[in-house]
Point group: C2
Amino acid sequence: MRPTVHDIAAAAGVSLATVDRVLNQRPGVRHVTREKVETAIRELGYIRDLAAANLAKGRTYPLVFILPASDNSFMHGLNAEIRQAILRSPAERTDIRTIEVPAFDPAALVSVLDELSRGKPCGIAMVATDAPEVRAIVDRLVRDGFPIVTLVSDLTGSLRHHYAGVDNIAAGRTAARLLGRFLGPRKGDVAVLAGSMVVRDHRERLEGFTSVMAEEFPDLAILPVLEGRDDPEVAHRLVADSLKNAGIVGVYSLGAGTRGLIRALKEKAVDRTLTVIAHELTVHTRAALIDHTIDAILNQDAGHEVRSAIRVLKAKADGLAVIEAQERIRLDIFLKDNLP
Amino acid sequence: MRPTVHDIAAAAGVSLATVDRVLNQRPGVRHVTREKVETAIRELGYIRDLAAANLAKGRTYPLVFILPASDNSFMHGLNAEIRQAILRSPAERTDIRTIEVPAFDPAALVSVLDELSRGKPCGIAMVATDAPEVRAIVDRLVRDGFPIVTLVSDLTGSLRHHYAGVDNIAAGRTAARLLGRFLGPRKGDVAVLAGSMVVRDHRERLEGFTSVMAEEFPDLAILPVLEGRDDPEVAHRLVADSLKNAGIVGVYSLGAGTRGLIRALKEKAVDRTLTVIAHELTVHTRAALIDHTIDAILNQDAGHEVRSAIRVLKAKADGLAVIEAQERIRLDIFLKDNLP
DNA sequence: CCAAACTTGATGTACGTAAATCAAAAAATC
DNA sequence: GATTTTTTGATTTACGTACATCAAGTTTGG
């Protein structure tokens, strides 16, 4: 049987109350006594029973998810996953709240974080907007002891404890290699559709994409990036326009809101010899993959991201280690054959 | 606050003892009283606090993993993951034991299962060997109330509660499409290296592979399957031999023990224009992917499989639902750009 | 050396559930 | 209607931890 507080007390030759004072870093223990207890803890390999502790404390984990108010399938999916997590709250002792902030708006994000810092959430998961002032307040909150994980979009260089999202540079590189390999010996132009270059994840995908393209597929030329602002209408217009260029052999859509892209592709489908790689599995991209409008979909599993963020925040709140491999968000590659 | 047994007792107008009898299906409760209590449970939305219950019972989950005694990287990795899980046992209340059985030997597997059925494990995870007698005893154990999940290799048509592994038909199909698309307009022969056709997962991969090849890439001809028995030496000889055929443009290695394959490929590398798809990410395949000997690796995450099996077995033992999406083992596709 | 401050022990309650015991009440049997 | 059987209640202990209280002991400071 694993040792309990009673065993520690006996081994250290002190009372239960003293062990408790040491374990919960309460004052009123002489230095030498504290050392005795800590030695006993180490030697017996005592690990406190979290379940029992939480029961005694009536503990819950108040968590906050901060999301951009973007109206695209991916964000809807993310929201749905959070709602699922809320349904599991009783069993997981969580108490989850979501806050929406305007997208691409660092100031709004900062003010929400500042507001939160006056409350007592034991963990914050946020889709980060990449700006110095956001980094600053995140660092402040982390120093004040709030566990913080970034979700979907990271805030590199900040002190956030963890990033629950994919490696977007790798995603871009992967897209480039798939596109290059699928095109084989063909030469021509490649169109890139992004949401906005002010979001870090889009910038990183593009960076990865262009570097592999340059290194390994010099016969393919990347056209100037189309910024669709994750809006189907805008994307449709931009892509339709761009496709008038007869030299285009491939398309990489690295943002969300791929509906417009798909529509433009279908209109052009008559003489279609395009190879298309897109991000995020939604009902639309899924259908397009099945009917061969899209050749491959790169995806991040929103459910995994949400569950992972919750696990990590709870672990950090308890000062526990996480299972790194479990929390790594992988880049899913879907062809029409391995759709879930 | 969520309702407790006390609330149920009050609401149903009975004593705590009676509520306990109902909750733990102990005898000595009249039918009408039982109904009263069950109504109260439903109306208050009572959910028992598993942590508290496990604490009170001093419960642990004795689990058994049954693995084939195969000496290949994948099985070593699986073993390592189980050892990791054993390290987490204290926190997860599990008590994990592994049993090795000779590979490809239904009789041995049956006798181990029979032996286990006389013990009291609360869950069994097994790499299934596909045979009628195995199916029979699995069904018997399931009927006797043992939670059983198959691991890596399934036992379709049996009553096992869950399969913690990838969809191997989809894996084969995906391999075919990748190979076909990577080869593009090239025509020629494709070599297939398998472990053994008596293992279900290998058969299924081949099935998926050949069907997509036939449907969509008629210019590529599949050569007779090479059975390497997951042995590097055998595989090396077979592949080296086969590569004398100048018409080969692609290779699909669907089994384990890919070391021999890689060696054969490197020896032949001088005039290499081969496209190669292999299964399972190991140190060897990883290196080969990086140096372009292999073009893509299909992988199943052994860590995920083990953790998933444990979660599912615990949930089944407690009669709880599992999060389906979380337990789905995905087919990882690795190019050199998205290696973990 | 005495009082104030600090340190420790002893003890009890609580968290939500499981499980056991014994007595009391109700129902079923003859 | 008495007796047996079944059903129910009341109460207690336990799981491992947290936390509070009070008394007693030990150090300090002046």
